[in-house]
Symmetry: C2
Subunit: 459 residues, 2 copies
Amino acid sequence: MPLTTGPGVLRHEDPHLGERLARSARATGGVATSPEQFEKWFAERGAAQVHDVTRIPFSRLRNWSFAEDTGNLVHDSGRFFSVAGLRVEVDEGPVRQWSQPIILQREIGLLGIAVREIDGVLHLLMQAKAEPGNPHGVQLSPTVQATKSNYTGVHRGRTVPYVEHFARAEPRRVVADVLQSEHGAWFYRKRNRNMVVEVGPEVEAGDDFCWLTLGQVQQQLRIDHRVNMDARTVLSCLPGFDTDGPALHTRTEIVSWITANQAVHDVDTTVVGLRDLPGWRQTDMSISHERGVFFDVIAVDVVANSREVSGWTQPLIEPHGVGVVAMLVKRFDGVPHVLLRARIEPGYLDAIELAPTVQGTPENHAHLPGPLREQLRDIERHRHTGRVLFDAELSEEGGRFHHSRSRYTIIEVGDDHPDEEPPGFRWMTLPQITWLLQHRHYLNVQARSLIACLRACLD
Amino acid sequence: MPLTTGPGVLRHEDPHLGERLARSARATGGVATSPEQFEKWFAERGAAQVHDVTRIPFSRLRNWSFAEDTGNLVHDSGRFFSVAGLRVEVDEGPVRQWSQPIILQREIGLLGIAVREIDGVLHLLMQAKAEPGNPHGVQLSPTVQATKSNYTGVHRGRTVPYVEHFARAEPRRVVADVLQSEHGAWFYRKRNRNMVVEVGPEVEAGDDFCWLTLGQVQQQLRIDHRVNMDARTVLSCLPGFDTDGPALHTRTEIVSWITANQAVHDVDTTVVGLRDLPGWRQTDMSISHERGVFFDVIAVDVVANSREVSGWTQPLIEPHGVGVVAMLVKRFDGVPHVLLRARIEPGYLDAIELAPTVQGTPENHAHLPGPLREQLRDIERHRHTGRVLFDAELSEEGGRFHHSRSRYTIIEVGDDHPDEEPPGFRWMTLPQITWLLQHRHYLNVQARSLIACLRACLD
């Protein structure tokens, strides 16, 4: 890339970005799109993108089959993803050794939101997009969800709309661009590129797209199953909220504590074949845990009414029960702090990532000892005694997970809540978390979702 | 950890740390230790720690053997490290597919330097330490080089001196604490914890230890094979040099460019057995590449004159030739910028890390096409036309590598040098690099060494 030297060649970070985002967050009534226009558009897109999803036996999958050598569930092309087995040994928790099915998807996908100034206010180009695993049809999604092949142009296929604004983004137009992990319990080392790029007035919203202010998107976050996981993680990586302020721990102490947790934990994982995975039973309808907990691997037939594709079949992961994803917030000297936890999941690239205060599914732990049941009870108690800042049922990526539902909750606790940090927990401020989110793999996808929601509560 | 609330519970990063380190860097004549005292001490320690190292056949290794199933070279205890095979496929470079021996060492070790104020000036507690692979006996080393077992106390063995100051560091005393990678060409996903901790006046220097100012240590960096790799990497992680200033690219742009490089490159590695590795020949004396390039795996017998251990045998990696590790620096509007490269190495946790402008060993590439030979010629040319800021022959970790020598060079080029950034290269300022070094795995170990040296040139 050619550069020109001489006076003025050096630059600083945009000092106005924080204020521009804050102004967009305050514009909850919309600027380019009124609330009525938005609801009408969203209902129309829901009617236009209907997925008829039927559960089928694995033997009726088209272009997917169990590999002869490993028993892995793979696509004939070798592309998309596959389901293999993972053998895990960890040094913490009620169960230290287990095997499980795991999704392998090595390529780094792109999740991108285009932003544009309209009438002096930043707007986000949100997409209404249906996925076969979504509990209720379409959800608000990023401008672009693209595979690597889509955005590097290796395979010439149908072009993903707007992908060129991300794949060939002018560096100065990039607002955020960072790798983040996905669910470490279900994916093996999967990462996505989370991008926000500012575009010019020449970019307009197509049928499935709508310009919304940050405030409008934040309001939608509060509606059950309305904003998809991909949009939530990109929103969490927005900069401009990271003014260094006072905190219980300095940034150096926070990174030191994370480093210590990475260094002391042993997480040993081996990818193995899906066939004969200890503790799991395979029929033609599902691969399930022998206790009926955690999740099933299933197959679905999808009939879509859209113009592009008529239908397809694919495997999905169907988690059991409704997850609980909860964060406690407490003010110290008036400054809100979030209680994050260093959490081991077998699919992380590193040993740990920072997770919400509590993350788990009650049904999965009913038969196990350990502190999770008590933590879940604590959260139920806090729902009544604390100030509930956020509470909605949200779902995970519907292209991989079938009706994956979790109740996402943020509760502000009072001064009577103990200040203590149990081992593996730390209170951090929102500016500190925003600072961490400029870099890869500090916060897990559940924590990122809640941080996107928390900004909507505190701004 | 109990906390106390109430006024004054919140804190800020130490605003004086940068100035305290700068003052220590200016004290090149020493405060606690005069240059003469230092030289006398260092010579004495060199005489006191003599390693008599003899090459032996693998069959004469004690407690090490080739595993029956894999052919891997392993220790009977399963501890320390092992040598296995790695199958690699990459999407860039003259060779896209190969197999090679690789060191497996999963545990995260600790490299720590204790700092203490003496007469108002920060001093670093440096150790004189011999390693069997060092070209010339003892080198200046961190206060502590400890395995995980040493610092978590899992195995009760001989205690490593000063380790308790790092293992149980009071959070506010931590100056730096970050995971960093080691050589991705020789190690598979090896990381070390790089720590700097401030200690009080009660900590004194034992026989093998010496309090030196940062300026004194920086002077020693200029002497061939004087400061070891472990000390160099810890020095590179020192904070206080990261005042945000103007630059060719903003921090957001730098991270975006790194993210793009991580996302587009495919690096596919599989750990395999050491036996019958394609392209490598094994005799009782060595495992060598069939062209006689890259490195050999060898075995040595070590006789030490120290009190603690009488002697041992171990495998070592013996690289061929003398490496070239060089960085170009150019001023833009008076602000120095370093030309870093996004480099693929098979042992990184991620696809790429940032490396010096040029990094390679001429002998290894004589038979290969590709741009490295031209880059090495360019560096030789710059040695004559540019301003050589730093030039010394340094060695890598002598506990794993036998006489691993590289010429580390920093050259400031003039305005006539093109501003252009070839694909995969970026100009960055020292504050930007210091900012990246607060987080894990951005810069590779060679780049970190040169950054420690560059600070000595520019301060």
